[in-house]
Symmetry: C2
Subunit: 196 residues, 2 copies
Amino acid sequence: MNSIKKQDTADKIMMAAIDLMADRGYNGVTTEEIATKAGFSEKTLFRHFKSKQNLLESAFHRYHYAEEMKDLFDKEITWDLHTDLMMISRNYHRIMHQNRKLIQISGRERENLPGFQESTHKHPQQLKEFLTEYFEEMYNKGEIIQTDPKRQAVVFLYMHYGAAMGRINNDPILEAFSIESFIEESISIFTRALTP
Amino acid sequence: MNSIKKQDTADKIMMAAIDLMADRGYNGVTTEEIATKAGFSEKTLFRHFKSKQNLLESAFHRYHYAEEMKDLFDKEITWDLHTDLMMISRNYHRIMHQNRKLIQISGRERENLPGFQESTHKHPQQLKEFLTEYFEEMYNKGEIIQTDPKRQAVVFLYMHYGAAMGRINNDPILEAFSIESFIEESISIFTRALTP
DNA sequence: AATTAATGTCAGTCATCAGTGACTGTCACA
DNA sequence: TGTGACAGTCACTGATGACTGACATTAATT
């Protein structure tokens, strides 16, 4: 039972930490609260993590969404603009939504998470490069009009990033709206703009 | 010199508070730091504001970007799609940039700012309604194609919201890019998508 | 039955921080 | 010259929060 149970406890504590810190920030939450929420004593928390800071870092490391983002590119590209953009957007929003708590924390805790900001920025960066290449290729295939593919990629990304952040922050604008509906509209606009 | 100087002191303290809290959050900054940065003693801070919480609220109230957003609609609409969208975007980004510190704080400090979230959401809401009406009117004039104007407005807004947030957070994606360049590309895409 | 790993309890340390109270200094102005 | 408005200093308090050490408990393992 040793390492399994041990891991289980650590996981529960990390989950509790993520939950609470996403709502109230690193400094807004006490180690006691985290432990209680996880169903353990504060002492146990400190037996598993050598400090509060270390707990946050561990939690981040453990639940990092790094890898998923990459898979997004490896999916089936059909070279049909609408289909591909829909697929990419859906996956993007799914990943952003799954990782919303980590994203909230990361936005907030620049100071407390050394070298973390960069890892948050790494994946959009990759996505931007992938999209840029995709648009270039589509242009070469004569499927889209010629403009600057890098700029198109950035606009596309920010459009979805904005919506993803709105969703994370419970923006009332999205209340009347499903995210699926947003995706459809945005892709329609994009498709229509780029189709020759 | 009474109330002028008094206001001046209070202002300096509020400015210092905004500066520091935008970087490190409410709980990440001490009243002493704020006072020192403002060039006063901690005592003076508490003579002007009855608590740290009250200081934050006052600062927010004072520098609230509420009003500016509305002016954005009252500007010259030319009923030329490209021109109007450029004007709106430029103003939007200008206001967002001017108020970046308050925006950062507001995103972070949901818990500490009672009823603040709603006031942050109010203006985009207004903007969304204005844009919706604008798109409807443009459709009636036969200047744009028929789709759902509300959805168009939301997509337009989030596109710029995303970029504005990226700019605030120093997203490296925007490094190679001026915001003006983003605006141009995004409006080109939008214009091309909506033009009959 | 003895051992061990994981957790709990309790009492306590140490540092920090919001906020206060008493008193002083300074300048404007009447 | 005296009063009022504003800021400073200093020495506190009271609370909180991260983190520790000693010892007890529980339950599974051998």
